[in-house]
């Protein structure tokens, strides 16, 4: 049985036309699926719908099943039992995802305590182990630091520790490396790869950068104007894209193939509808 089963998901805000239009996809246990598309295509709204975190004026129809739980129409209380436990999320900007007034160790421990009955001492122990797992050589110091005392890459690792400490079934990553330098991005991607594998967690990885997706995901969904226009294995998408929009995305992300100084290919060269 699929871990996540999305069917005919449509999301609209207020009276405006829907931003996600009848999409369907599955994520199997342990599978890593990349969801790519440009700003405004509906990828973040899709991820928030899965998390049950859409604002109140969102109109949602269709079905999102996580295991045997239906997310659409679920109460916030029911969802908060899932969130942080079976289902977690890593956001783009780690500074806003962390509470600036709370030491990092306590923030990670909070996720643990909300979902288990671990004694405070045992929780602290597990937090330190988890901080070690996300690559901190000195977990004690990190646990005692405030978010502003850490670098962007360190903060994103703390967020990763929060997302993975309860051994979730599914981690949603919403552009987790977009705000980071290339070198830090490489470190965070390697780390995600390792911890996702060690916990056998599935992942829905949202990005506008195909190169980043290809580093982590086995499968790819391409989203355009609220619809999934192409899906396939990562290598299939990169070598043999079918939809003109996907061809354009692949071409724009292959800077390495373009002769330096010459004109870069644009999505519009392949797909006229991308003009915006």
């Amino acid at each position: 049985m699929s871990l996540l089963r999305v069917r005919d998901l449509t999301v609209a805000f207020g009276r405006r036309p829907p931003v996600v239009r009848g999409i369907s996809f599955d994520v199997e246990p342990g599978q890593r699926v990349g969801l790519i598309g440009e700003s405004g295509c509906g990828k973040t709204v899709t991820s928030l719908a899965v998390m049950g975190l859409l604002p109140e004026n969102a109109r949602v129809s269709g079905s999102i099943r996580l295991g045997d739980v239906e997310v659409v129409g679920s109460s916030d209380r029911a969802m908060s039992e899932l969130r942080g436990d079976e289902l977690t999320m890593i956001f783009q900007e780690p500074m806003t995802a962390l509470d600036p007034t709370m030491r990092c160790g306590r923030q990670v421990a909070e996720v643990l305590r909300l979902h288990s009955t671990a004694a405070p001492g045992a929780a602290r122990e597990r937090v330190l182990v988890m901080l070690g797992e996300v690559g901190f050589a000195d977990p004690e110091r990190i646990a005692n630091s405030f978010p502003h005392e850490l670098s962007g890459g360190q903060r994103q690792r703390v967020v990763t520790a929060m997302a993975l400490i309860n051994s979730p079934d599914l981690v949603i990553c919403d552009e987790p490396t977009t705000a980071l330098d290339v070198t830090v991005q490489a470190t965070v991607l390697k780390l995600l790869d390792r911890v996702l594998a060690s916990q056998n967690a599935a992942c829905l990885f949202i990005s506008h950068d195909l190169a980043v997706v290809s580093e982590l995901c086995s499968d790819v969904l391409v989203m355009l104007d609220g619809e999934i226009v192409e899906r396939g294995t990562a290598s299939g998408i990169f070598t043999d894209a079918q939809h003109p929009y996907t061809k354009g995305l692949v071409a724009t992300s292959r800077l390495d193939l373009v002769e330096p100084g010459s004109r870069l290919p644009l999505v519009e060269d392949f797909y006229a509808g991308a003009e915006r």
């Binding site: 290339v182 294995t233 990562a234 290598s235 373009v258 999505v267």
Partner: protein, 263 residues
């Protein structure tokens, strides 16, 4: 004006922030020459001193030690009122157009703002602002009919075009682009890079292009300096940075470029 004339010459450029225990050496004795017509890449991670370097070049900050000269004239140590030549001839495009464009100004006012500066007007003489807006919007691929709209009505890529138009308004000699595509989608990145490339050629600009992404720098720049902890660790033609990096740090930057798995 000879073709290889120096635009910028920096000698022993040093900037220290704070003092005592909190003292941070942001830039430690950088020597740099930027020649006319050159496209120089400045590469490094956050905190490597890239932004401090360009702020000092553009005289937005004062060095702790060392000096900058621009087109043969000293910059360091001169009062602001004598810097008109630099203010007009050196313009900057910043990373995030959501932050660098005033949300309460219409595009027309944003683009002509540099032309209202008394120092720049003294340099440039009076230009017809409306004609200039039309010219610039067309140059950056925007529709002049949109001149009376606000920045929030534009997409990220279009906003960066507005920022570029504003930078070009006073007819600069040097364009400093500080991570101009880092905040943009990959698909929009190509559009903006192509545009910068065209404009630099068309107006004969010298460009200093700051980025943490070596892929982008290789595409845009003929020469690049690699910075780390406030120093230049490598300076070479970009092609040889890729084919034959001389330092471990450059090699680490190259290794961090996301590779296409299975492609």
């Amino acid at each position: 004006m000879t073709a290889d004339k120096e635009m910028f010459a920096a000698v022993g450029l040093t900037r220290v922030f704070g003092r005592g225990a909190g003292r941070v050496l942001a830039l430690g004795g950088v020597d740099l020459t930027v020649r006319r017509g050159e496209r120089l890449g400045v590469v490094g991670e956050s905190g490597s001193g890239k932004s401090t370097l360009i702020r000092l070049l553009a005289a937005l900050d004062t060095p702790t030690a060392g000096s900058v000269s621009f087109e043969g004239q000293p910059v360091t140590g001169r009062p602001e009122r004598e810097l008109g030549f630099l203010r007009r001839r050196v313009q900057i495009v910043f990373q995030d157009p959501r932050a660098s464009l005033d949300p309460r100004m219409k595009v027309r006012r944003i683009i002509t703002e540099p032309l209202r500066s008394p120092m720049i007007r003294a340099e440039l003489g009076d230009l017809d602002p409306d004609a200039r807006v039309r010219e610039l919007m067309e140059a950056v691929g925007l529709d002049y009919a949109d001149a009376d709209r606000y920045p929030h009505e534009f997409s990220g890529g279009q906003r960066q075009r507005i920022a570029i138009a504003r930078a070009l308004a006073p007819k600069p000699h040097v364009l400093i682009a500080d991570e101009p595509v880092s905040a943009l989608d990959v698909s929009v990145r190509a559009q903006v890079l192509n545009l910068l490339d065209d404009l630099v050629d068309r107006f004969g600009l010298t460009m200093i292009f700051v980025s943490h992404d070596l892929r982008v720098v290789r595409h845009v720049c003929s020469r690049a300096i690699v910075m780390r902890q406030g120093r230049i660790v490598e300076s070479a033609p970009t092609a040889s940075l890729f084919s034959d990096p001389q330092t471990d740090y450059t090699r680490a930057l190259l290794a961090a470029i996301p590779a296409f798995r299975g492609a």
